[in-house]
C-alpha cells in the first residue's frame, strides 16, 4: 500500500466557478504533504471534500487502497481523517477535556465520565509532547494552546490522516517552531499529515512533498528536497516572482502622527488598548507587529475615529484630532486601507466609479451644490483605474462585487492614495491577495514613503512587516512592547516581543 489517501479526478463546482477541476492528489503514509496554492485556488475546497463537508461532483476517493464515500464529517472521523480548521471550533467556556469529548462523551452510569477521558487525554498529550492541561478552560489558554487542543481532538478520535488548514496564520514565530516539532512527532508515531498553506517557507521547513494547485487544477507534485522557494512560487503563480523589494534608504522628516498614552476599551473578548504611545514621521514606514487580537483593531478604529477613546490623545501634524469626526480626520490628511475590504473598504453593490468617490463625493469638482458631476467622476475614475491597474470586465462601470480580490484592493489603494494623504494607515493591505497583487501594493506603499508620506502599516504577516518597515513597533495585550529599527532586528526578536517579551530581556 503506497498511498494512504488517493483522490482521483475530483471535480467540484459552485455556481459560477469550478473550484476543483479534475484534481488528482495522493498522500503517502507517514509523510507531510503540503498543499500549496493562492487564496481561492481550490485547496480548501479539495480538503473539505476529503473531510466530507462538500460532496464532489465527480471523481473517486480511496483510503488505504479502498474506495470510500465520505458524505459527512462523521464518516471522515470514522475513517480516521481529522482536520484542524483555520478558525478553531472550540466552546470557550468548556474545559479542554469537555471540548475534546464533545460528541463522543464516554458515559458511565448515565453520567459523562470526564475523569477517564481526562486521563486518556493527558496520556496522549504526553506521548506527543503537546503539554496540554486537560482541566484548563479554553478561554484561559493561548491561541497556540487552543490549536494543540484541536490536534488532541483528532488524536483522541484515533485519526491517522491529519489535515491542517493554514495552521500558522494565528501563531507567533516561536509557536510555529513549536508546532513544527509537534508535527514531526506525529509523523514519527505513524500519522500522515496534509498541510494546507500558502507560505513557502513553512513548506521548505517541514514538508516532504508538495502539490501545487492553481485555478482549481493541479500544477504538479514535487519533492520538497528537489525544489526551492522560487520554483514553488513560480508554480503557484504561474510566472516568475520577484522576492526582493527594491527598497531605498528611508529619509524621515517631520512627525505626522503622534499617539500619546492612548487607552481604548476593547469589544468583548478582545483586549483594549492600554497607554499606547507611538510616533510616525513623514518618509518612513512604521510597521506594527503583533498576534491577531492584541489591540490592533482598537488602535486603528481609534485613529480613524470610529471608536471612542478612553484617555490619551492623537495628533496629526501636531493638531489634536482626538475629538474630530472621521470625515474631519480624512480632510486633515488621513487615509485608511482597511483590513476587511468587503466590510469597511468598498460598497460592493456600487460600481467601481461610485466607490472611487466614497470619500470625496461631496467636494468640488466631484459634485457641485449637491449634484454629482458624473462626467467628471467618470473621467477621474478612468484615470485612477489606469494609474492603479484596476482590471475589470466593464471598466469603471463594473460593480465592485464583480472584481477579483486583488483588483478590489487596488481600487481601494487607488482611492486612498489618490486623495494625496499625509498619513496612510495600511491595515493588512495584502490580506488574501495573490503574489502579483502583493508585489504591486508593496511597491505603492514604498512609493508613498519615498514621496515623504507617513505610512503606518499594521499587519499580521511578519514577513510583510520585516520587508517594508523602517521601524517596527510591537503590540501585545494592548500595550506597546517596544519599537526597534527594522535594520537591526530579526524575526526571532520580533517574535519574542510579539509574545510579550520586553526587548531588554531578549538582548
Amino acid at each position: 500500500m503506497k498511498y494512504i489517501v488517493e483522490m482521483e479526478n475530483i471535480r467540484k463546482s459552485f455556481p459560477g466557478v469550478v473550484a476543483c477541476d479534475e484534481i488528482n492528489f495522493q498522500v503517502r503514509k507517514g509523510e507531510i504533504h503540503a498543499l500549496l496554492g493562492e487564496n481561492g485556488a481550490g485547496k480548501s475546497t479539495l480538503m473539505n471534500v476529503l473531510f466530507g463537508l462538500y460532496q464532489q461532483d465527480r471523481g473517486e476517493i480511496y483510503l488505504r487502497g479502498e474506495k470510500v464515500n465520505i458524505t459527512n464529517p462523521n464518516i471522515a472521523n470514522d475513517l480516521g481523517i481529522g482536520m484542524v480548521h483555520q478558525h478553531f471550533k472550540l466552546v470557550h467556556n468548556f474545559t479542554v477535556t469537555e471540548n475534546i469529548i464533545l460528541g463522543i462523551e464516554p458515559v458511565k452510569a448515565l453520567m459523562v465520565d470526564t475523569r477517564s477521558a481526562s486521563s486518556r487525554i493527558r496520556e496522549i498529550s504526553e506521548r506527543y509532547g503537546l503539554n496540554v492541561d486537560p482541566e484548563a478552560k479554553i478561554e484561559d489558554v493561548s491561541v497556540g494552546m487552543q490549536q494543540r487542543v484541536e490536534i488532541l481532538k483528532m488524536l483522541y478520535r484515533d485519526a491517522e490522516i491529519l489535515i491542517f488548514d493554514e495552521p500558522t496564520a494565528v501563531l507567533t514565530p516561536q509557536e510555529v517552531t513549536e508546532l513544527m516539532k509537534i508535527m514531526r512527532g506525529l509523523i514519527e508515531e505513524g500519522k500522515s499529515i496534509i498541510l494546507i498553506t500558502h507560505k513557502l517557507k513553512e513548506i521548505m521547513a517541514i514538508a516532504d512533498r508538495c502539490t501545487v494547485i492553481r485555478w482549481g487544477k493541479v500544477v504538479g507534485t514535487v519533492n520538497v528536497s528537489d525544489t526551492n522557494e522560487e520554483k514553488l512560487a513560480e508554480m503557484m503563480v504561474g510566472r516568475k516572482v520577484l522576492f526582493d523589494i527594491n527598497k531605498k534608504e528611508a529619509n524621515p522628516r517631520g512627525e505626522v502622527l503622534r499617539i500619546e498614552s492612548l487607552s481604548v476599551l476593547g469589544s468583548a473578548g478582545t483586549h483594549g488598548l492600554k497607554n499606547f504611545s507611538l510616533r510616525v514621521k513623514g518618509g518612513e514606514i512604521v510597521g506594527l507587529a503583533g498576534v491577531d487580537g492584541n489591540g490592533q483593531a482598537e488602535l486603528v478604529e481609534a485613529i480613524i475615529g470610529l471608536r471612542r477613546t478612553d484617555s490619551g490623545k492623537i495628533y496629526l501634524h501636531g493638531t489634536d484630532v482626538t475629538r474630530l469626526t472621521t470625515r474631519q480626520r480624512i480632510n486633515s490628511g488621513m487615509a485608511h486601507i482597511p483590513d476587511d475590504r468587503h466590510k469597511h473598504g468598498l460598497i460592493l453593490d456600487y460600481t467601481v466609479l461610485e466607490n472611487l468617490i466614497l470619500k470625496n463625493y461631496y467636494l468640488e469638482p466631484y459634485s457641485r451644490r449637491g449634484l454629482i458631476n458624473w462626467d467628471y467622476v467618470y473621467t477621474h475614475a478612468e484615470q485612477v483605474i489606469k494609474d492603479f491597474d484596476v482590471r475589470s470586465g466593464q471598466g469603471a462601470e463594473a460593480s465592485a462585487r464583480s472584481l477579483s480580490g486583488g483588483n478590489q484592493q487596488k481600487a481601494i489603494v487607488g482611492r486612498e492614495i489618490d486623495g494625496n494623504p499625509d498619513l496612510l494607515l495600511a491595515v493588512q493591505p495584502t490580506r488574501g491577495l495573490d503574489v502579483g497583487a502583493i508585489e504591486y501594493i508593496h511597491r505603492r506603499l514604498l512609493e508613498q514613503r519615498d514621496q515623504g508620506k507617513a505610512v503606518f502599516l499594521i499587519s499580521l504577516e511578519l514577513d510583510e512587516i520585516l520587508d517594508l518597515s523602517d521601524r517596527i513597533a510591537v503590540i501585545y495585550n494592548g500595550e506597546l512592547v517596544g519599537v526597534v529599527n527594522a535594520a537591526e532586528t530579526n524575526e526571532n526578536e520580533i517574535g519574542l516581543m510579539m509574545a510579550g517579551g520586553r526587548r531588554g530581556a531578549v538582548a
Binding site: P15, I304, L306, T325, T326, R327, Q328, R329, I330, H336, P338, K343, H344, G345, L346, I347, L348, D349, Y350, T351, L353, E354, I357, L358, K359, Y361, Y362, S367, G370, L371, I372, W374, E397
Partner: protein
C-alpha cells in the same frame, strides 16, 4: 449605461412574479369552475375599458405610488418602513384639518395642505428614525407602534374636532376648495375620481429618481443602505442618513395620505388603518425599489383593484380571486431571490447545453473528417 444589466434583471424578475401570480389566479379560476381566459379579460377590461375606468385605475394607483415610493426610498437606505399607513393617516389628518378650518383660495389652500401633510408624515417617520439612530430600536417595531399611535390619535381627534353631520365615525366632507378633484379633470375622464394627486405623484417619482441618481444626498443614502460600515469608515454620518431617509419616506407617505383622503375620498373615517400603507410594501417589492418601477407596479395594482368588481359582476368568479392574485404576486415578488436564482440556473443550463452541442458538433466534424 451603468445599471442597465441590473435593471433588465429586475424587470425580468418582476415580470416573472406577475406571470406566476396570474398563473396561480388562472388555476384558482379553473378550480372554481370558471374560464380563466374570460376572467382575465373582464379583470383587465374592468380597469381599462373606458376613459372613466382608466381614470379610476390611475386614481386608485395614486396613493400606492406614494406609499410604494416611501417604502422603496427607505429600503434604499437599508430601512424597512412598515409605517406608511400611520404616516398616511397623519398626512391625511393634516390635510383634512387644514381643509376644514381655512377658507382660502384653492391654489393657496392646496399648497399649504401639501406642505403640511408632507411635514406631518416626515415628522411621524423621523421619530422612529431617531430612535433607530440613537438607541438602535428596530424601525419595524417603532413604525408599527407609530401606526397605532396614529390610528388612535385619529380615533380621538376626528370625532372631537371634525365630526361629520351624521356619523360619529367620520369627519365632515372637505369643501370643494380643499379637494384635489377638479372639475376639468373629472370631466376629461367622464366622471372618474381621478384627481390632481396623480400628477403630484408623477412629479415625486421624477424628484425621487433625480435625488437617488444625481445628488450627493442620494449617493450617501444608498451608500448607507448598501454597506453601513464602509459608509461610516468613509466619514459618512450613518445616523444622520437614517433619520433623513425615514423623514423623506414619511413625507412621501404623508403626501400619499393627503391624496387619499382629500382626493380619492372626501372625508376621513376613524378606526381604519389604510391598506395602501401596507400595499406600498408590495408595490416597492414588485417595482424593485426603483422609482419608475414603483410607478408601473402601482398602476398595475390599481388595475387589478379596479377590475375585480367588473370581473365578479360579469362572471361567477368571486372578487376574492383578484385579491388572491395580488397576494400571490406579492408572494413571488417577495421571494424574488428564488426567482433570481432559478433565472441564473436556467441561463447556466442553457449555456452548458449550447457548449455541449458545440462540442458535439466539433467532434462530429472531426469524426467526419477522419472518415
Amino acid at each position: 449605461m451603468k445599471t442597465k444589466l441590473r435593471v433588465k434583471k429586475d424587470f425580468l424578475i418582476s415580470i416573472s412574479a406577475i406571470l406566476l401570480g396570474l398563473l396561480a389566479g388562472a388555476g384558482l379560476m379553473a378550480v372554481t369552475g370558471n374560464s380563466p381566459l374570460e376572467g382575465f379579460i373582464y379583470l383587465f377590461r374592468g380597469g381599462t375599458m373606458n376613459i372613466e375606468r382608466i381614470g379610476n385605475t390611475l386614481a386608485t394607483a395614486t396613493p400606492l405610488i406614494f406609499t410604494g415610493l416611501s417604502v422603496a426610498f427607505a429600503f434604499k437606505t437599508g430601512l424597512f418602513n412598515i409605517g406608511a399607513a400611520g404616516q398616511m393617516l397623519i398626512g391625511g389628518l393634516c390635510a383634512t384639518a387644514i381643509g376644514l378650518t381655512f377658507d382660502w383660495p384653492k391654489a393657496i389652500l392646496l399648497t399649504v395642505i401639501a406642505v403640511a401633510s408632507l411635514i406631518g408624515g416626515a415628522l411621524w417617520a423621523a421619530l422612529p428614525g431617531l430612535l433607530k439612530a440613537r438607541y438602535n430600536v428596530h424601525e419595524v417595531v417603532a413604525t408599527i407602534m407609530m401606526n397605532w399611535i396614529a390610528y388612535w390619535a385619529i380615533y380621538y381627534i376626528i370625532p372631537q374636532h371634525f365630526k361629520g353631520p351624521f356619523l360619529e365615525t367620520e369627519s365632515q366632507r372637505i369643501p370643494e376648495a380643499a379637494s384635489l378633484k377638479v372639475p376639468w379633470l373629472t370631466d376629461l375622464f367622464s366622471g372618474s375620481f381621478i384627481n390632481l394627486g396623480f400628477f403630484l405623484a408623477i412629479v415625486f417619482v421624477v424628484i425621487i429618481a433625480f435625488v437617488l441618481e444625481k445628488t450627493t444626498m442620494g449617493y450617501e443614502l444608498k451608500a448607507v443602505g448598501y454597506n453601513r460600515d464602509a459608509a461610516e469608515a468613509a466619514g459618512i454620518s450613518v445616523n444622520r442618513n437614517i433619520i433623513l431617509s425615514m423623514a423623506i419616506a414619511g413625507a412621501l407617505a404623508g403626501l400619499g395620505g393627503a391624496t387619499f383622503y382629500i382626493g380619492f375620498a372626501s372625508n376621513m373615517q376613524i378606526g381604519v388603518l389604510p391598506a395602501q400603507g401596507f400595499d406600498g410594501i408590495a408595490v416597492a417589492l414588485l417595482g424593485a425599489n426603483a422609482p419608475w418601477g414603483v410607478f408601473t407596479a402601482a398602476i398595475f395594482f390599481g388595475l387589478l383593484h379596479n377590475g375585480k368588481g367588473f370581473m365578479s359582476a360579469m362572471t361567477a368568479i368571486p372578487p376574492e380571486i383578484a385579491d388572491t392574485i395580488i397576494a400571490t404576486i406579492i408572494y413571488f415578488a417577495a421571494t424574488s431571490v428564488l426567482i433570481e436564482r432559478n433565472w441564473d440556473k436556467l441561463k447556466k443550463i442553457n449555456l452548458e447545453n449550447i457548449l455541449r452541442r458545440k462540442k458535439r458538433g466539433k467532434l462530429a466534424v472531426k469524426a467526419g473528417g477522419e472518415r
